[in-house]
Symmetry: C2
Subunit: 201 residues, 2 copies
């Protein structure tokens, strides 16, 4: 014996969420059924609307339900000559929260990964090439993750941008602020040493 | 700056799920948007259907989209004179998986908890009283959780059933099979000792 067909179907559907297995899916289904039907209905409506309407910004590839995202539409940002290339929309938020960067973004939605069949076209690099060809961007900041794939992706984009009279920079790797040297891995530490800067007295 | 309004709304909606905070909600939203729109749409449809159509079985209070659940509708089960009282639908599944029990269930959908304002009426005890009054049930098995609230609920139901010429039993508390005595808590161990049975040679 199992749950009734519709309850079973609901539990199965929850398993499409990342990190949700049988037990968690069951807990979610019962929680909504017992305590929060309104929330469940709202989730259903929003989910439906989101899956249908959210596409990619035509300039930076970020998720948006408009043609252009808020950042690409902002006149102040449009005048900026900096373009920051990141892997995911969440990275944009992380950088925006610093308040440090006032330029535009380009979101790859992943990284080069030949094993998974993800090539330059899947990352929208043709779109990025167009953008750079228009000559408005003076500097590309490569802010892909410091992983093997992220580095390879950064390298690939750097080579592409090299021929276009654009400055190319990579975000600094080093010891995280607030960290203790003792617990920093050797690779990071060697980056921190080679990337050392003159101390301003 | 935040995500686009619809993306933000989607992330907020996911927070109605138990154990899902801001970061997890964001991960879920991006996972569906990037990799599984089909799954997301299916989840939305099922969720909507479930929230609207799933009600309670009129006999045992289990979740079902029918008037009666599968167990209550089974003719073999209807003839059984055993009624097992549990707190949650998940408990029914746990007991069904043992294959040991062939009677019917009554699901309280919670336990007595005056602090949270949950009284006998919220647990459908009037429905249970009706059921017992019909005289078909010969034994009520109290299978509420062995917690303070579960025990209190069991006691309350036992008192109610006492006047109706119905046998009342409580599932056995003791050392879990496969467990080691050394690691069993004192309360359980004392239950195991007082509940000892004659050893059949």
């Amino acid at each position: 014996m199992k749950f009734s067909p519709l309850v079973q179907e609901l539990i199965e559907s929850f398993k499409c969420l990342p990190g949700v297995g049988g037990k968690t899916a069951q807990r979610m289904a019962f929680h909504l059924l017992e305590r929060n039907r309104q929330g469940g209905t709202k989730l259903a409506t929003t989910l439906n609307k989101a899956m249908e309407n959210i596409g990619h910004c035509q300039k930076c590839r970020n998720f948006t339900e408009q043609t252009l995202c808020e950042i690409c539409e902002s006149p102040r940002r449009q005048q900026s000559k900096l373009l920051c290339v990141v892997e995911n929309p969440a990275d944009v938020i992380a950088i925006e929260q610093t308040g440090e960067f006032q330029g535009r973004y380009f979101i790859l939605m992943g990284h080069l990964s030949p094993i998974d069949g993800i090539g330059p076209d899947d990352l929208g690099l043709d779109l990025l090439e167009n953008e750079l060809n228009q000559g408005q961007v003076k500097e590309v900041i490569l802010a892909t993750n410091p992983t093997v794939e992220g580095e390879a992706t950064a390298h690939f984009i750097a080579e592409m941008a090299h021929s276009m009279d654009v400055n190319i920079s990579r975000i600094a790797h080093g010891v995280p602020v607030g960290g203790e040297l003792e617990y920093v891995d050797g690779n990071t530490l060697s980056h921190a040493l080679t990337g050392r800067k003159n101390y301003q007295v």
